[in-house]
Symmetry: C2
């Protein structure tokens, strides 16, 4: 044992004389990843104990729409019944473009090959999926359809690399309650299978034996420490670190200029820190899922996004995380949307995008706009000239969203980081929703150390790991819950099959 690592988060297994609890597989964190791991493990006959820091299970998955990004294998049952085909190679081509150099080829392939089967598993839990698709541009349907486009599938350059197929699978219900529906269903199964759940309890240290195997944890419960032995393994499914101020400042200082954390209160990086404390390797720590909530309403997509220099900088029909990524890349954190009245409608997510200029002509808007003189007229004239031919030679916005801005009146909305206020949050910047870096794991959920050697007895899944999604640039709604539940199951299986101490 080497307390140099951490004087608090690692303890010698042999130093513990009494164990308050003894189990086979200990799962830390009862969100989507932890629940999936627990259900697989208990189904394989392992004794499973789950620790949850909050007063009830659910985690970030329960707060989400529970969209899962699924496809491949000819199509999921839902895609197929809607007459949609989706090959594993087509899905893989999309994932590779989305993740770029950050992608983990093993995880992408494993996920693309198993995603359709994962849908069957989720549905088998009793989660309702209506055989209906909502194909308009949105983030989550407020009606009861279960299939939608949730990423950049139809946008450039993705539409030149892979055939666009809707892969967002969301539980059917009017409104946005997918996360609750899924978590209620899976937690009911887990309770029925006899796994023990301990709420208001969190692991604060890992127990490591003389053979360097993780054998349990020290947890905090009712303000006292308890020792828990895990004969087969410990699964860290505690979420990311978006709400840990120290960690976000350390790993993503620049993103904090653009965003404010808006995540699950308990995304404090507990499990990542525990894993690091036993030598677990962390990667991708500077990346996060953030959002530029331009839409809904979809029709704002007809407008053009401008940086503070009055230049366009992205195809406006991209997914909102990609809009956020490219916005962050601009020299200064001020962004504008020029829109004509017929396409204007208040944002569904933002309290306000300040109207900073209006006019019956572009020149009139320009006279009130905070751009250098003359630039707005140039930008709009170039856009209009080509949009009237349904073309966008600069950024390739698809024809579906192209029309010249020539019907006054016009308005210029400002979406500055310092002004962007989502209805759903009290922040003053764009939302930083969850982090995409964490423990480095194999597709089995095994955590590796600095030498890429497996740490015996330690598993992780969900946002406590660097999973399938790696960047906002290519993120699609459903990649995180899809990853967390898919690889959570694999981690639970691996732990359950691990030879007991």
């Amino acid at each position: 044992m080497n307390p140099i690592l951490s004087t608090h988060k690692v303890r010698a297994f042999e130093s513990i004389s009494h164990f308050d609890i003894s189990t086979d597989v200990l799962v830390c964190g009862y969100g989507g990843a932890g629940a999936a791991a627990a259900l697989e493990a208990v189904t394989l006959g392992a004794k499973v104990t789950i620790l949850e820091r909050a007063s009830a299970g659910g985690g970030s998955t329960a707060l989400s729409s529970c969209e899962m990004y699924l496809g491949g294998s000819g199509g999921t049952a839902l895609q197929k019944e809607l007459g949609l085909e989706d090959s594993t190679e087509n899905m893989l081509a999309y994932l590779r473009e989305a993740l770029g150099p950050y992608g983990d080829e093993d995880k992408m392939r494993c996920y693309a090959q198993g995603a359709a089967g994962h849908f069957d598993w989720v549905e088998s839990l009793g989660v309702p999926y209506k055989r209906a698709a909502f194909l308009e541009r949105t983030v989550v349907p407020l009606s009861d359809e279960s299939l939608l486009f949730t990423g950049n599938e139809k946008a450039h350059p993705f539409n030149t690399i892979a055939k666009p197929v809707p892969r967002g699978h969301v539980p059917s219900k009017v409104g946005d309650e997918g996360g609750k529906i899924f978590m209620d269903a899976i937690m009911q199964r887990i309770a029925g299978a006899g796994a023990e759940v301990i709420n208001d309890c969190r692991a604060i240290a890992l127990l490591v034996d003389k053979n360097n195997r993780v054998c349990g944890v020290i947890a905090k419960r009712d303000n006292r420490e308890i020792a828990i032995r895990a004969t087969r393994g410990v699964v860290l499914a505690t979420g990311g670190f978006v709400m840990n101020d120290t960690m976000t400042r350390q790993y993503m200082p620049e993103l904090l200029e653009y965003c404010v954390p808006y995540g699950n209160t308990f995304d404090m990086g507990d499990g990542i820190q525990l894993g690091q404390a036993v030598g677990g390797q962390t990667i991708n720590m500077e990346q996060a899922f953030m959002s530029f909530p331009l839409y809904p309403p979809a029709k704002l997509t007809y407008g053009i996004l401008l940086n503070k220099h009055g230049q366009r900088y992205i195809n406006e029909d991209a997914y909102l995380a990609r809009l956020a990524h490219y916005s962050c890349q601009q020299a200064e954190q001020k962004f504008y949307l020029l829109v004509q009245e017929e396409d204007f409608e208040a944002s569904h997510y933002l309290q306000r995008a300040a109207i900073v200029a209006t006019g019956d002509s572009i020149a009139e808007v320009a006279s009130e706009a905070p751009f250098p003189a003359g630039i707005l007229e140039q930008t709009v004239s170039y856009f209009n000239q080509h949009a009237s031919n349904k073309q966008d030679p600069l950024f390739h916005k698809t024809a579906e969203w192209l029309k010249p801005l020539n019907k006054p009146p016009f308005a210029l909305l400002e979406y500055s980081a310092s002004e962007m206020t989502a209805v759903i949050m009290p922040g003053t910047k764009g939302p930083l929703i969850f982090t995409l870096g964490g423990l480095k794991t194999l597709t089995t959920g095994e955590v590796v150390n600095l030498d890429n050697e497996i740490i015996s007895g330690l598993y992780a899944a969900g946002r406590a790991t660097a999973g399938l999604p790696r960047t906002a640039k290519g993120y699609a709604s459903g990649m995180s819950v899809g990853d967390a539940t898919f690889f959570g199951r694999l981690a639970g299986r691996s732990a359950a099959k691990h030879l007991p101490i």
Copy 2:
């Protein structure tokens, strides 16, 4: 001891029966940081042993121009004798703007306060500095002046935040031999002071005792392992990891799309890995110093840089690392310079920047250029209209570099990542010169663990640490050698004063 951390890089001090060498302060790495640490420690009376992986000392500092970014305290001796004033607050204001949210306030303040004194120390080693300044736009003077502007001091927005003062201090010699001059001088002092230097030898594991104090290393010498005891401390000054393919792919996958490593062969991250193996915290691992070698010749700065959309994206008078940063931010890795013949001269650093279009009018250039039709004419007409009034409302290039592009013939040069080939390197992309992330240290050089607790007996400096410079965006030539030698001295002092075992 917890081999989970690393089965190779940490060993129990108590398990070593025989020590081949016993010393007070062991310095790993004999570049600028290691030399500075060694000289301070030996000067304080400590027995010092230096291990160097190469066959001779020098490291990356010897390969550099040995520019040091120095000022403050009213001015260095060199600045003052040239009639230049530089206050600590002015230098600090510049550093804060340069480093932004990545900056370490303690290190910035400590450095700004001590930089002028550091110059006196360097000069006291016998390093020649001519009381003459070379104030033209360049990276390193090929004549013998010793003071120059090496960053963005005169460029927007820095020129609105701090008074521009030249802070690049370079040893005087016709040509570019500063690094050799400095390293020869300091290594001569170190030899004279009786420190032991062992070349062709590198540390492969740290020795940690039962009290978790670092007490020495296991090193590889003549193909066998030797044990070295260090009673006061071990200083890791082994450089960054730019030449470690596994580490660069892991920590900066996206930069590798733009750059190819072009650094010191031995920048393999040895010390960073050793520090991590005993729980040392690493930060800023995704950042690196890269370069867009647009100049010299300076007069190319009169041209305008364009992205693949034919839009300008930065003030062309910025420092070459900042040019590289903003170029990387563009949607695709193709960059162009439109220049008129009177300002054209072959690049000093690039084998070629392909001429992709020429013409006696902008329209003629546009007809051959790879831009969407009409965009180049718009961009140039807007630039010219304002440049003729010495203004650049979009990016605020300074008047010094503003003139309308209206004297044909014109040429469009392509600097694509895939084509950019520096004379000084065989690569096919822009050069990735050294990394800016590493062990987290205090200004004393003490390495901290995951809980920000000091690891007893372990010190680090130079690019093995996250030092003063943190990003290419605000980098200035001289920040790295300045940081390595300045904080190397502090690390050497701390180790020498550490109570012996």
